[in-house]
Symmetry: C2
Subunit: 343 residues, 2 copies
DNA sequence: TTGTATGCGTTATCAC
DNA sequence: GTGATAACGCATACAA
């Protein structure tokens, strides 16, 4: 199949008995074209159902008006929201999006990056896979003259454009809120510490405890409690301690927090009176559990828009060299029933 | 910025004192190349950090190894899952994905399609916007020799490759199940009937009632109850009837079903004993509401994989002309507490 | 304002 | 097996 070949500017030129370059100029709305010929070209282009071949155009111009996006999973709420935000802002500027998912695997992440370099994208937006440790492929992006923007899960040591959440501050506020609600012995479910987003959340937790003179207890800090299942497992362990926690901060995700809630419910432990729970991400379901779950909103769609607009701003003043810049978005603590036991 | 220009096959050719065509052959692993030179080329390509320019390659080859995807919203669960499925299958075949969202607007959908045609994608995968009525832009895809695959929300009259859910059957089973549970006066919350997915679900509902000799009551069929808010509104109306329904089938979405549940809970109506509720889509939250919500799983990730593989199969035997084909995936009824009042 | 000529980087088609 | 050359479709520098 792939039927008849498409009409090109040459076809239009031939039909109108003018040069192909004139057609090109007319189609690209160039300044130095006769109004009459321009109209004529546009008219016949429409008649012949002409579609510009962007492959050729981009090759000639040396840019693709395309942004490549690499995320761990397309179908995770946070990431699909960020992508939607990027698409929204990019579309307005006439840019396209090529999307890849790394499946949290560094090996696939590297392949994705290479594909995008091959595709000659103008910019690569990436949020690192959980097991991403070596960042040569990111350096490779820069070496190929492609703008690199990291978001959320970033490699700190690489000086690039970054858009992140202020995880530490958000975490600090969440724990402070729980302390203000009178919770003692607040446990932390933490994520892989090689991802800075998780180490920052831990720092916020520790800082809040310090500020309010609460002891830091190792037995209340559980590693790698990322999923609902692991959150549940961690909770069973915590609640079987001689002195169980009064609250649990599932800093990894709302799914983890859900695991906490389910175990607590199953054990007949009342939330929030006997146990406080706070999650992270403001997943849709946190609003509808019983009780509803306190969590942190990351403004993910806005984050995507910010990423795209950051790129366009940098492009706008391309005369000046791009200097590394970090935009930090302040997440919002959403207080719900699961941590509200006072007024 | 866009710093130094990249290395091309000419750079490699020059360094090795051979012809560019030989380099090209070596890189594309062509059959008729000396093993020694091939190795040499690969080695220096690596040294010079060579990356193929796919823009040029694709232009020359007349194909882009790219699939364009148009969906109403990237960040809706169903669609992000389908996209993830498409990406998964495409990646394995070395294909890239360009993603656009129509925002449920036909006008934007048309622009997206045109962009994808310009980008010379090999295939366009689309799920129609709710207000999409005229399908000339779809015909345009075909006219440009691009393979068109519709999924979920399809234009029936257009003879293309299609991947759909058997909505009618799923709906029939859901209503039959509710009848078997002893529910009488089962109400239907329906979506825009210009989208076939919704009219099919209505047909399934009607067929089930007929089969079990239940009367069809217009007052129990509510139009346009797509969102949680509209589902809630519809529920308030239904429950204030002289003879309120015994169950509500929110055929539009789980969000609608959630609206039903919330209103019922607020009014002190017990689910499932006094009111049965069934949603559609198997959103994550349906599992964790109280009570959990009976719903229908659409196998959305699998659906995406099916779409992509359908394309690759058709490409595999490109000698034979593509004949319109529809793959219908059977959704699965997930029975949960909200409709279980018998054993 | 318009036409001519050239090149973007690759691959395919010839010769040799 | 290898090299020279043309062509993919478009945009631009330059000449007219």
């Amino acid at each position: 199949m792939q039927s008849k070949k498409r009409t090109t500017i040459y076809d239009i030129a031939q039909k109108l008995n003018i040069a192909a370059s004139s057609v090109s100029r007319a189609l690209s709305n160039s300044s130095h074209v006769n109004e009459a010929t321009k109209k004529l070209v546009l008219k016949t282009a429409d008649e012949l159902n002409y579609k510009r071949n962007n492959l050729a155009s981009n090759l000639r111009k040396g840019q693709s008006k395309t942004i490549g996006v690499v995320v761990p999973f397309i179908n995770q709420n946070f990431f699909s929201n960020v992508i939607a935000g990027i698409e929204d802002a990019s579309y307005q500027k006439g840019y396209n999006l090529i999307i890849c998912q790394s499946n949290e695997l560094e090996s696939k992440e590297i392949k994705c990056v290479n594909t995008l370099i091959n595709q000659h994208v103008d910019c690569i937006v990436i949020s690192l896979a959980a097991d991403s440790s070596d960042h040569r492929h990111l350096q490779n992006i820069i070496d190929n003259g492609i703008q690199l923007i990291q978001f959320d899960r970033v490699a700190d040591e690489l000086e690039t454009l970054k858009v992140i959440n202020d995880n530490e501050q958000a975490s600090f506020e969440a724990v402070s809120h729980m302390i203000a609600q009178g919770y003692k012995r607040i446990a932390l479910l933490e994520g892989p510490q090689n991802l800075h987003i998780f180490s920052q959340r831990k720092t916020g937790y520790l800082n809040a405890l310090k500020k309010f003179d609460m002891p830091i207890l190792d037995e209340l800090i559980i590693e790698n409690a990322w999923t609902k299942e692991l959150g549940a497992k961690a909770t069973r362990k915590l609640l079987s301690l001689a002195r169980p926690p009064g609250a649990i901060f599932a800093s990894t995700s709302d799914f983890s927090a859900l695991g906490v809630l389910e175990v607590a419910s199953a054990m007949g432990i009342k939330v929030p009176s006997e146990l406080g729970i706070c999650g992270y991400s403001n997943e849709a379901f946190t609003e509808i559990t019983s009780p509803s779950i306190t969590t942190i909103d990351q403004f993910s769609v806005y984050m995507g828009q910010t990423v795209a607009n950051l790129y366009f701003q940098e492009m706008a003043n391309k005369d000046t060299e791009v200097v590394p810049k970090t935009i930090s978005i302040k997440p919002k603590l959403i207080v719900r029933s699961s941590t509200l036991r006072k007024g």
